[in-house]
Amino acid sequence: MTMNTQKRKKRLNMKDKYKHMTRLGWDTTYQDMDDVFPKDKFEGIVIHDWEGWEDPFRMTMDSYWKYQGEKDKKLYAIIDAFAQNNGQKNITDARYVSALKLFLTGVSPLEYQAHRGFADIARNFRGDGPRVACQMQAIDELRHVQTQVHTLSHYNKYFNGFSEFAHWHDRVWYLSVPKSFFDDARTAGPFEFMIAIGFSFEYVLTNLLFVPFMSGAAFNGDMATVTFGFSAQSDEARHMTLGLQAIKFLLEQDPANVPIVQGWIDKWTWRGYKVLGLVSMMMDYMLPESPQSWKEAWELYFEENTIALFKDLERYGITVPDCAATVSAEKDHLSHQIWMTFYTHAAAAPFHTWLPDEKKMDWLSEKYPDTFDKYYRPVYEHWGKLEKEGKRYYSEMLPQLCQTCQIPMLYTEVEAGKPTQIAHRQTKFNSERFHFCSDHCKDIFENEPEKYVQSWLPVHQIFQGNCGGSTLPEVLKWYKVEFGQDNLDYVGSPDQKMWKEWKGEE
């Protein structure tokens, strides 16, 4: 028998073959379809033909296992090598590690929520195409949280501020911002979750979260984080195409969907931007060597790329979210205002903050010519004087929080030309007062007040006595934050002391 006795068989193209491999469902007859799928109609989204779905990627499970297996082999080889040769010694400066603490406590838990959320909608959409795409994203997200835990586990052995990340995410005040963001998406209906996370977070904002973190890691000698970031981000590319396909699918199905989807885009681009405030602070202040400023990243990844995207969506009647103007106006102030808050409240947070040194301040002046020297350098110089007098300033106050995004009311009326006046918005619901940092957060509340009155606001919960007591030491004990170890300034911290020993300084 000769080697190639291959008979010419009919060959299926990839698109058709993938359809046969994924269109496996059926209309139930022994149980009503609306009982089997109880969640995919109540939001008002109309789907006439689930087969209008264009598969965003065509990877059957066998090739998924094959390529993802290869990716993880490479990733874990590098994580092991990083650990074996004490790679944590070769980063530029231990201050950088606080950015990783923020990532593990604030971002990794969101990956876990995305895993559960995409499994939920993979079960609750009636259409086979979206269900396969969503479940593959569900398992990808589990990969991300687990690889992040494994990568940062090495840092946890040497640095403080990682050890109780799961406990902190459910309790510590500023972590209610990312937690409530994802709880909001997870408790919404399946279509809103898809637009909130699949489109707004995964497509519009993912490059703003991941690429700055990864290039920040690369710039600061952290090869382990670079590797997991780039490796995870290649999964994100699939998720971005899923998010884009999902929104087009909804918009093509029925004109009635357009205003609903537009409302979700507006809400979730704003809510996502609010969470990304943490990233702006990380990029501008927490990286000893900064590849890019927040403003530059925003201009590149939002203004340039996302505008191209919204041009693509114009024909469906979708417009750029109205909050984009606010975000653009705030890009010269955002990171500074947030860093000021974390600098002053560092006693209550399990990561370190510090005053920017001359080199960093000069970089900030160059990147923010109109605002840094006028508004923020004077603040750091004022606090610098206090530090020299041995009176490093910590605020003992508990801030007012925005009812929707739960961020302290630190945002100012930049769009109205008053960048030092804190923005206050207010409303009443069920004869109780509620406060907001912006018109956008107020609108989100007023659309669904019954939802947002349930917010577990950390400051109010402390005053209600639900967080271990009313004094800072009692609350920190309830938080499992070690005073003098996890919190306070970087200068004088155990992290710094260890770092100096490693570097043979002093």
């Binding site: 969640k39 508004y375 801030p399 009311m409 207010q426 069920n430 007062r433 669904e448």
Partner: protein
Amino acid sequence: MAIITVGEYPLNMMDSVDKFHGNQLVYVGWDNHRLINSAMTFPLPPEMPFGALVSEVMPSCYKDHPDFEKVNFEDGSVLWSLNGESFTPDFSKSLIENGVDHKSLIRFDTPNLKGLNGVGM
């Protein structure tokens, strides 16, 4: 637009005044003095005289701004607002008698004091 849900959605007011052990929440913010990051939250007895808020509570928060010692609360230079409406507090009367109820926002402005670098920080 009411909330869209599957079935009846519970109404759960997480911060009603009864949950604060006899106190009410009051937020206080100093306009155009951004060195103090945000309005701050204070659990206070409703019967507390407004004057005590100014003399005992506010200093613990605003002493951290160099302008605070220059503020004169008696000579009318301070402009007050309550829940977005300008108002003139009666220091001798209680918070509640001044209309400061649960989760009220008090803002005070000191136009003559310009903050750090004279730009409102």
